[in-house]
C-alpha cells in the first residue's frame, strides 16, 4: 500500500518523513497516473500530498507557481497578476541559487495578500507554496545556502480546473463562459461552451446540471444557475441571427462512420468534423427526427424541436453527412460499415424499454403500451400512440414524468403516475416532478402495480396495486419498500405505460464480430486500470472502469454514449463522445489508441474530486440565485400545446446571475 509521506491537504498535516509509526491519510487518488508511472506527489489548491520522499518540493513549488503565472493566471487582478509573478521569481531565485531568506518571508506575506484576489486561481495557488515554505523550510534553506542544486527527478503534469468544470461530464470551461457573460460577451461565451459542448441549446435546457451540485457558490448560499446561463449564451446567437463561428480544418481523407444521430453521435461528428474528418452518421429514424433520445425522449415543451434542429443543422453545415432512415444491421450491416470507413463509432443509444414485471404485461392487451420511451417517440413523431383517456404511467424517472406530461398534451383526461417509493426518492429531477404536479398530474407514491385488469375485449380497465411501506434496512443499510398485506386497490384506467427504464438494443452487432458486450447490455471498451492505495480499481459513477479509451475489442471500432456508459444523460454522452473523437483522431493519424496525461489527470481529478462541500467560503451572500421565467398554469399542458414551458433569462438577468460566480479556478499538479 502506497504510503503518504507528507500531506498538508485540507489544512490537516500528516508528516511521516521522520519515519516511525506511519500516520494515516487517504485520498481518492490512484497509485499511478496511467497504470505505469507512479504518482509521487500531488500539489494543488488545498496543499501538498507527497507519496515519494525523493520529490524535490522547492523545485516542484517553483515549477507549480511558474505554470500558474505563465499559463493560467488571467492577469485580470492586481494581486493575481503581479503577486504570482513576484512569487514565481522568488521561487525561481531560490531554486537557481540566488535566493535569500527574505524571499521566504515575501512568499508567506504574499500568501496572505493574495487572499484579496478576484478569483481563486492565484489565491489558491499560494496554498501549496506557503505550505512548502512552512513544512519544507530546510529544503528551501539548503537551496539558499547553495547546498542543494536542482536535479530533474520527476516529470510534472498540471491540470487547470474548477469544481464545476470538473464535475461536468463534458468538462465545459464553466467559469470562462460565465465570465464572458459577465462581460456582455455572449458570443464568446458560446464559443467557450462549444469547445466541449456541441449541443448548447439542448444542454442549456435539459441538462440535469451536475455542475451545479459542485458549485462553490453553494457553500455561500445557492449554486449559480449554470445551465440557464448556458442557454442564455446559446439563445443569444439564435436570437441575433448570428452565424456560428466554427471553421473546420481542411478536409482530410480518412473517413468515420457513426451509428446514431443522438448526442454522442452528433458530438463525435462535431469534433471530428472540426479536425477535418468527413463523418457520416447513420440514423434509424427518418429525417426531421435527428437527435436520438433528445428528440424522441425529451418532449418539445422542454426542448423545442427547432432549436435542436438548429444545433443539428450547424453540425451538418460543418460537413457532417447524416443518412436518415437507415438502420444498421437491417439496411446496412456493421461489417459493411467497418469495410467502408476507416473508423466506426457506435452510439446507438438506449431505446429499448425494460419490462415492468407485472402480471399480464406480456399478453398484448389493448391499452397496455410497450414502454415510456416508445410512447414518447410515437407522440413526438405524430404517430398514433394507442393512448386512451385515463393514462397510468409506472415509474419514477424523468422518462416517466415526461410520459405523464406528454399524456396531458396528447389529450388525456387523467394522467396518473405510480411509483413504488416516495416523492423524495424519485430519480427524476425535482423540477420535472414539480412541473408535472403543476400541470395536474395525479401521483400515487409507494404503490406497486401487481396486475393489469382487462375487460372481455382484452381492453385495459385498470391496474391492481398494492401499497408499499419501508421495510427493515438491508445489507447496504437502505430500507427497501415492501408490500403492505391487504392494501390492494385498483387504479382505473384505459392505458398503462411502463416507464421503468431503457437499455441499448445491440442486436445489430453480430456475435462473431469480436465486439464484447457487458452483462448490462453495454458495449465493452478498453480501459486503463487505475488502483487506489488499497488496491481497489477505480470506477466511474456507473460502475465502469474510470479511465477508458472507448475502443472496442475490435480494431477501428469505437463506442460511446448510453450504449457504452449505460443509460445516463445527454451531457455524459457528449463528454464521452468528445473523448472518443480525440481517441479516434489519434487512431486515424497515428494508428495508436492512447490517452494523454491531461486526460488521465482529468479523470483522476473527477474521482478525487475538486469540489469540497465542507469548505467554508467567506463571501457576502447578497444576491440570491436567479430563476428563469416560466409559463405557469394548467393551460401550458393543454391538448396539443407543446410550447416551451421554461423561458430562460433576459440578458440583463443573465449578467446579474453570472456576477454571482466566484470563478473557482485552481491548478493541480502531479509529479510522476
Amino acid at each position: 500500500m502506497a504510503q503518504v509521506v507528507f500531506s498538508s491537504w485540507g489544512g490537516t498535516v500528516v508528516d511521516n518523513r521522520a519515519g516511525g509509526e506511519a500516520k494515516d491519510a487517504s485520498f481518492r487518488l490512484p497509485t499511478t497516473l496511467d497504470g505505469e508511472r507512479s504518482l509521487a506527489a500531488f500539489m494543488g489548491w488545498d496543499g501538498i500530498i507527497l507519496f515519494d520522499k525523493g520529490v524535490d518540493v522547492p523545485a516542484m513549488a517553483a515549477e507549480y507557481m511558474k505554470r500558474v503565472q505563465t499559463l493560467y493566471c488571467c492577469g485580470k487582478c492586481t494581486p493575481g497578476k503581479k503577486g504570482t509573478r513576484v512569487l514565481m521569481d522568488a521561487l525561481a531565485a531560490i531554486v537557481e541559487g540566488r535566493g535569500t531568506e527574505a524571499h521566504l518571508d515575501s512568499i508567506t506575506d504574499l500568501g496572505d495578500l493574495l487572499a484579496n484576489c478576484k478569483c481563486t486561481l492565484c489565491q489558491s495557488s499560494t496554498v501549496p507554496v506557503v505550505d512548502a515554505v512552512k513544512h519544507f523550510r530546510d529544503d528551501f534553506l539548503a537551496y539558499i545556502r547553495g547546498a542543494q542544486k536542482p536535479v530533474a527527478t520527476h516529470r510534472y503534469i498540471e491540470k487547470y480546473t474548477a469544481p464545476c468544470m470538473d464535475r461536468c461530464p463534458a468538462h465545459i470551461d464553466i467559469p470562462a463562459y460565465i465570465e464572458a457573460i459577465k462581460e456582455y460577451r455572449f458570443d464568446e461565451s458560446l464559443t467557450v461552451i462549444r469547445d466541449n459542448m456541441p449541443l448548447p441549446s439542448v444542454c442549456g435546457r435539459v441538462c440535469p446540471h451536475p455542475c451545479e451540485t459542485h458549485c462553490r457558490r453553494k457553500n455561500v448560499d445557492d449554486a449559480v444557475n449554470i445551465m440557464v446561463l448556458k442557454r442564455s449564451a446559446s439563445d443569444y446567437e439564435w436570437m441575433h441571427n448570428a452565424e456560428p463561428p466554427m471553421k473546420p480544418k481542411p478536409r482530410k481523407s480518412k473517413t468515420v462512420a457513426i451509428v446514431g444521430a443522438g448526442p454522442a453521435g452528433l458530438a463525435c461528428a462535431y469534433y471530428l468534423a472540426l479536425e477535418g474528418y468527413p463523418c457520416t452518421i447513420y440514423e434509424a429514424l427518418p429525417e426531421g427526427y435527428g437527435g436520438g433520445m433528445i428528440a424522441v425522449g425529451i418532449p418539445p415543451y422542454r426542448q423545442p424541436r427547432h432549436l435542436l434542429q438548429r444545433d443539428i443543422d450547424i453540425i451538418a453545415s460543418m460537413g457532417v453527412e447524416i443518412i436518415y432512415d437507415t438502420r444498421i444491421g437491417t439496411d446496412i450491416s456493421l461489417d459493411d460499415l467497418k469495410k467502408k470507413y476507416d473508423a466506426v463509432f457506435l452510439a446507438p443509444g438506449a431505446h429499448r424499454s425494460k419490462p415492468m414485471g407485472v402480471e399480464g404485461e406480456d399478453k398484448g392487451y389493448k391499452g397496455f403500451l410497450k414502454g415510456g420511451i416508445d410512447f414518447l417517440r410515437e407522440a413526438y413523431m405524430g404517430r398514433p400512440t394507442g393512448m386512451g383517456k385515463k393514462v397510468v404511467v409506472v415509474g419514477g424517472g424523468n422518462t416517466a414524468i415526461d410520459c405523464v406530461r406528454v399524456a396531458l398534451r396528447e389529450g388525456a383526461e387523467e394522467s396518473i403516475l405510480l411509483y413504488r417509493r416516495s416523492r423524495k426518492e424519485m430519480p427524476a429531477d425535482v423540477w420535472e416532478v414539480d412541473g408535472a404536479d403543476e400541470e395536474g398530474v395525479r401521483f400515487e407514491f409507494q404503490v406497486l402495480p401487481t396486475r393489469i385488469i382487462v375487460d372481455g375485449n382484452e381492453q385495459v380497465t385498470g391496474v391492481e396495486c398494492v401499497r408499499m411501506a419501508l421495510g427493515e434496512p438491508d445489507a447496504s443499510g437502505r430500507r427497501r419498500p415492501e408490500p403492505v398485506p391487504g392494501s390492494e386497490f385498483v387504479v382505473e384506467c384505459d392505458t398503462v405505460i411502463p416507464a421503468i427504464g431503457q437499455d441499448p438494443d445491440l442486436s445489430f452487432i453480430p456475435e462473431n464480430m469480436g465486439i464484447d458486450i457487458t452483462k448490462w447490455n453495454t458495449v465493452v471498451t478498453k480501459y486503463i486500470p487505475l488502483k487506489d492505495a488499497a488496491g481497489k480499481e477505480l470506477k466511474d459513477g456507473m460502475g465502469n472502469p474510470l479511465v477508458r479509451t472507448l475502443i472496442t475489442d475490435l480494431d477501428g471500432v469505437f463506442a460511446g454514449g448510453d450504449a457504452e456508459i449505460g443509460p445516463l444523460t445527454v451531457v455524459a454522452c457528449i463528454g464521452n463522445a468528445h473523448r472518443a473523437a480525440r481517441v479516434i483522431q489519434r487512431w486515424l493519424e497515428e494508428g495508436k489508441v492512447y490517452l494523454t496525461d491531461d486526460e488521465f489527470m482529468e479523470d483522476i481529478l473527477t474521482n478525487f474530486p475538486v469540489y469540497d462541500k465542507g469548505e467554508t467560503v467567506p463571501w457576502l451572500d447578497s444576491v440570491e440565485r436567479a430563476h428563469q421565467a416560466e409559463v405557469h398554469g394548467r393551460e401550458r399542458a393543454s391538448k396539443g400545446n407543446y410550447q416551451e414551458v421554461e423561458l430562460g433569462f433576459v440578458d440583463s438577468k443573465a449578467v446579474q446571475e453570472a456576477e454571482r460566480c466566484l470563478r473557482c479556478y485552481r491548478v493541480a499538479m502531479a509529479a510522476v
Binding site: 485580470k76 515575501s106 462581460e183 467567506p618 457576502l620
Partner: protein, 832 residues
C-alpha cells in the same frame, strides 16, 4: 430598499446597489482605480476592498451588492495595509517615465499611489518590457504603463459595441492589445483613450503637444452630427490640441472619431484666412463693400427675387436666424433654402403636420430604456454615432429588442434581433407591411390606440390591400422575418423608432415617413417616458436651421411664410434660366455635396454675383466673386439645437485664423451695411431676439416636444400601391455617410484622413465576379453624363445590385451621380 451601516452610519439604498454606491450616498469615499460608472464592474484593482462584519475576507465595494443589515467598514489599519501593498504590487516594474508620460499630471495611478501611501516598494520581479504599439493610427499604446483596469476594453465593447481591443496573454505578460495583434483597425472613437487612467493609451495627435495643466479647457458642444454631444476643447496659444468629454456630460463622456479627433480640421492649413474679391485678396471693408454694392445693384436691376441664399446646418442658430433675416429683411427675398431640401425638410414637414414635431419626440435618453427599437433606413454608426451608443445600451444592457431595416449590413446588425435587408426603393412597402403585421396580429398599443386614435378602421381597411407575402417578396426579405420583426416591436410596451438618410432621401420620402408615423403611433411609440420617434441627421444644427426659418416656406418658429420663396431646386433652375443673378452660400458647398453637382457647377457660372462664406475653399468657391472667410464652431459663440431639441451653447475656445470672422459677425455687418442700420449684435442679443419670436428658444434649454399629451390624432390613410417588381438589370448606387467623416468638413481633418483618406465603392462579391473585378480594382460609375471612378471594396455588406459609396470626398464626388430628389441613383458600372 435595503438598509445597511457603513462606518457606523445608516443608509437605505435600492436593492442591487453596490456598497460603493451606498457609501457615495453617505459621502464616504472608498478609493477606486478600475471602477468606471458607465461599464460593468471589473473588480481588477482590488483597492476598494472593505470589511463586512461576519464575512471572513475583504469584499470589493465596487462589485458587491448590498445586503440587509450588513455592517461595512471602509477604513481600518488592515484595509490600509492591504490597499498600500496592492498599490506596491501594481507598481512592480511600472516604468518611471512619468516626466515624459502624456498622462503625467492627470494620472489616476499617480493619484492613487499618493493617496494610498504607496511610498516604498517591498516587492520585485524580473523586468520584462512589452512592445510599444507605435504602429496604430491616431492611438498609441504603451502596455508597460498598463494597470489592467480594463476600462478601455469595456468601453470599447460595452459602450461602443466593438471588439477592437482585448485582454490578451497570461500572467505578467497580460496586456491590452488588438485581438489579432495587428495594428488597431477600429472606429477610432478614442473612448479608450478617454477612460485610460494612465498613459497607456494616448492620443497620437496630442502626444507632446503640452502638459495637461497647460491647456485652457472650454466646455462646448460637438460640431459634427445632430446628437449634440457635450465636449471640452483643450487649447493652448489659441489652438485646439485635443477634445475630451467628461463622464458627467449628457453623453457620458462618449464620443466618436469626429468628436474626439475631427478637431484637426480647425487647424487645417487650407483654412480661408482672408476675404477675396474676384481672385484677389481684399480687406474686409473692400469685400463687404463689394458685396453690398453687388447685392444692391442686382436688387435694383432685377428686383430682390433675383437674389437667393443657401444656409447651413454647420452654423449656429443665431447665424441661421441672421441669414434669413438678411434675406427677408435686408434684401427682401424669400429665396433661401439649404441641404435640408435633400430630405430632412420633407421628413420634418410630415412630423410637423401629423404630430406637431420639429424633431425627435423625446430627448434621446428615452432610447436607452425603450423595450424595442426600430432603426429604419439609417446607418446610425455614420449618421449619429452618439445615438447608436444609446441603441446599443438599450439592446445590450436594458434588454430591448432591436429591429434593423437597412439595405446594407451596418454595425447595428450584430445587436439586431431582426435585420430586414430590403431591396432599394422598398421603404414604403416594408413599412406598410410591418404595419399590416402589427394590425393582423393585434400587436398595436391598445391603450394608446383606443384613447387617441379615431380612424384605425380606415387605416386597417386601406392596408387590407397590403399582402405581407407580396411585400416581403418585393422587398427581398422572408415573410417569416418580416412577421417576426413586427412581433418583436409589437410585443413591447415602449418603442423607439429611429430613421435616417436612406428613408428621408428616398424618392418617396414623404409617403414613407407618413407611413412610419402611422406605425409609430400604432406601436405606442409616442407620448411615453421611454421610446419615441427620432429622425436622425448627419449634421449638427439641421433642426436649428429650420427652427430659425432658413427655408423658403417657413419663418422662424416654423410658421408658414405668407408667400413661399424659391426652394433649392427652383433656385438652381432660376439661375439656369437667368431669373436669379446672385447667390449667397453660407457654409455649404453644393457643387461637392448636393445631387447634380455638375449641373450646379455649370449654373453657378451664370451668376452675376456669387458670395461664398465658408471656412474652407470648397468646389463652389472656385466660381465665387466674393469670399468671406468664416470661423468654425471651436472659434465662436452661439447655440446649436440637437435633433431632440436641446439648445446648447458653444463657447469660443480657439482663435480664428488670419482674418476669418464668426458668421454672425459677418452677417451682422452685412445687414447693417445693407440697411444702413448700425445695430451692434452678439450671439446673446441675437438669441434674445430669437426667443421673442420662436417659442421656447433660449440658450441651454430643452425645447418641449410639441406632441400633444392628449386629444385625438389621426392616422394618415393613403392608397396602397402594389410593390414594384425589382429591376434585375441595373445597379443602384447609394451614396452615404461613413463613420469616419461628417459631411465634407472632416475631409479637411488630418486625423480623419489618416484612417479614411479617400472614397471607394462597396460592391457585392457576385457583382464583382460578374464584372471581373477584385478588391481594390478601379470601377467607373456613370449616370447620364456624370461619372466617377474609385476603387472597389468587395463585401457582403451590400446586396447584389446595390453599390454603396461614401459621399464625403470631393476627390470622388458620388453625389454628382444623383438626380435631384433622390438619395440613390441607377448607375452603369464598369471596370475602369
Amino acid at each position: 430598499m435595503v438598509s445597511l451601516t457603513i462606518d457606523g452610519k445608516d443608509i437605505s439604498v435600492a436593492k442591487g446597489s453596490t456598497i460603493l454606491e451606498a457609501a457615495a450616498l453617505l459621502g464616504i469615499t472608498i478609493p477606486t482605480l478600475c471602477w468606471l460608472k458607465k461599464v460593468s464592474p471589473t473588480g481588477a484593482c482590488r483597492v476598494c476592498a472593505v470589511e463586512v462584519e461576519d464575512v471572513d475576507r475583504p469584499m470589493t465595494a465596487c462589485n458587491t451588492p448590498v445586503k440587509e443589515g450588513i455592517k461595512v467598514t471602509t477604513q481600518s489599519e488592515k484595509l490600509s495595509k492591504i490597499r498600500q501593498k496592492i498599490m506596491e504590487l501594481m507598481l512592480v516594474n511600472h516604468p518611471l517615465d512619468c516626466p515624459v508620460c502624456d498622462a503625467g499630471g492627470e494620472c489616476d495611478l499617480q493619484n492613487a499611489c499618493y493617496g494610498l501611501g504607496a511610498s516604498r516598494q517591498e516587492y520585485s520581479a524580473l523586468l520584462e518590457r512589452r512592445e510599444i504599439r507605435y504602429d496604430w493610427p491616431l492611438i498609441e499604446s504603451d502596455p508597460n504603463r498598463c494597470i489592467l483596469c480594463e476600462k478601455c476594453v469595456k468601453v470599447d465593447h460595452e459602450v461602443v459595441g466593438c471588439n477592437a481591443i482585448a485582454v490578451v496573454n497570461r500572467g505578467e505578460a497580460t496586456v491590452i492589445d488588438t485581438v489579432d495583434g495587428k495594428p488597431l483597425n477600429c472606429e477610432f472613437c478614442g473612448n479608450c483613450v478617454g477612460v485610460c487612467p494612465t498613459g497607456t493609451l494616448i492620443s497620437k495627435p496630442f502626444k507632446f503637444r503640452g502638459r495637461p495643466w497647460a491647456f485652457n479647457v472650454t466646455k462646448s458642444v460637438c460640431a459634427f452630427c445632430s446628437t449634440g454631444c457635450q465636449i471640452e476643447y483643450h487649447t493652448r496659444n489659441g489652438r485646439v490640441e485635443r477634445v475630451t468629454s467628461e463622464d458627467e456630460n449628457y453623453n457620458s463622456g462618449n464620443l466618436c472619431i469626429n468628436g474626439r479627433f475631427g478637431y484637426s480640421y480647425v487647424n487645417a492649413p487650407e483654412r480661408l484666412t482672408e476675404p477675396m474679391v474676384g481672385s484677389a485678396r481684399a480687406d474686409w471693408n473692400a469685400a463687404m463693400g463689394s458685396a453690398v454694392a453687388g447685392l444692391k445693384g442686382i436688387v435694383a436691376k432685377y428686383g430682390p427675387d433675383a437674389v437667393a441664399g443657401l444656409g447651413s446646418p454647420r452654423v449656429t442658430n443665431e447665424e441661421n436666424y441672421l441669414f434669413q433675416k438678411l434675406f427677408r429683411g435686408a434684401i427682401g427675398s424669400g429665396n433661401i433654402d439649404s441641404e435640408a431640401r435633400l430630405g430632412f425638410a420633407q421628413a420634418q414637414k410630415v412630423l410637423r403636420e401629423r404630430l406637431g414635431l420639429q424633431g425627435a419626440s423625446a430627448t434621446i435618453d428615452a432610447i436607452d430604456r425603450a423595450g424595442a427599437v426600430l432603426v429604419f433606413g439609417c446607418d446610425l454608426n455614420a449618421e449619429a454615432t452618439g445615438i447608436e451608443y444609446r441603441v446599443i445600451k438599450a439592446a445590450t444592457k436594458n434588454d430591448a429588442k432591436l429591429v434593423l431595416a437597412n439595405m446594407r449590413d451596418v454595425k447595428l446588425k450584430k445587436f439586431a434581433n431582426s435585420h430586414l435587408k430590403y431591396r432599394p426603393g422598398n421603404e414604403l412597402t416594408l413599412i406598410n407591411a410591418l404595419t399590416r403585421v402589427v394590425l393582423d396580429e393585434g400587436l398595436q398599443d391598445n391603450d394608446f390606440v383606443s384613447s387617441r386614435i379615431a380612424n384605425l378602421t380606415e387605416l386597417t381597411t386601406a392596408l387590407s390591400a397590403v399582402s405581407v407575402a407580396d411585400a416581403a417578396e418585393a422587398a427581398g426579405v422572408s415573410e417569416a422575418d418580416l412577421r417576426s420583426a413586427g412581433r418583436l416591436l409589437g410585443r413591447e410596451k415602449s418603442v423607439a423608432v429611429i430613421f435616417g438618410a436612406d428613408l428621408m432621401r428616398s424618392s418617396g420620402a414623404e409617403e414613407a415617413v407618413t407611413a412610419l408615423v402611422n406605425l409609430s403611433l400604432l406601436l405606442g411609440a409616442l407620448g411615453k417616458d421611454t421610446g419615441g420617434l427620432f429622425p436622425v441627421y448627419e449634421k449638427t444644427n439641421i433642426r436649428g436651421l429650420l427652427d430659425m426659418g432658413v427655408a423658403p416656406d417657413m419663418l422662424p418658429g416654423n410658421r408658414a411664410a405668407s408667400a413661399s420663396g424659391k426652394n433649392l431646386w427652383q433656385i438652381i433652375e432660376g439661375i439656369e434660366q437667368g431669373s436669379i443673378k446672385a447667390l449667397y452660400l453660407l457654409g455649404c458647398d453644393p457643387v461637392a455635396s448636393f445631387p447634380e453637382g455638375e449641373r450646379i457647377r455649370t449654373a453657378l457660372g451664370n451668376l452675376e454675383l456669387l458670395i461664398v462664406q465658408d471656412p474652407f475653399p470648397g468646389e463652389s468657391l472656385k466660381q465665387a466673386h466674393i469670399v468671406f472667410p468664416s470661423s468654425v464652431a471651436a472659434e465662436k459663440r452661439g447655440t446649436f439645437t440637437s435633433i431632440d431639441g436641446r439648445v446648447q451653447s458653444l463657447a469660443k475656445a480657439a482663435n480664428s485664423p488670419g482674418e476669418a470672422r464668426e458668421d454672425w459677425d459677418i452677417l451682422t455687418e452685412l445687414y447693417n451695411r445693407l440697411t444702413g442700420e448700425s445695430r451692434p449684435a452678439s450671439p446673446a442679443s441675437i438669441m434674445a431676439e430669437i426667443a421673442g419670436i420662436v417659442p421656447g428658444y433660449g440658450a441651454d434649454v430643452i425645447l418641449p416636444a410639441a406632441f400633444p399629451a392628449a386629444g385625438p390624432i389621426s392616422l394618415a390613410v393613403m392608397g396602397v400601391a402594389r410593390p414594384a417588381a425589382p429591376s434585375a438589370q441595373s445597379y443602384t448606387l447609394l451614396p452615404g455617410a461613413i463613420l469616419y467623416h461628417s459631411g465634407t468638413t472632416t475631409t479637411w481633418s488630418k486625423n480623419n484622413g489618416e484612417v479614411a483618406p479617400a472614397g471607394y465603392v462597396e460592391i457585392h462579391p457576385d457583382d464583382a465576379a460578374k464584372l471581373g473585378v477584385s478588391d481594390g480594382a478601379a470601377l467607373r460609375l456613370s449616370a447620364g453624363t456624370a461619372s466617377v471612378t474609385g476603387p472597389a471594396r468587395v463585401t457582403n455588406s451590400v446586396q447584389p445590385g446595390l453599390l454603396f459609396a461614401p459621399y464625403h470626398f470631393r476627390s470622388m464626388n458620388v453625389n454628382a451621380l444623383l438626380g435631384k430628389g433622390a438619395g440613390s441613383a441607377s448607375v452603369k458600372v464598369e471596370k475602369a
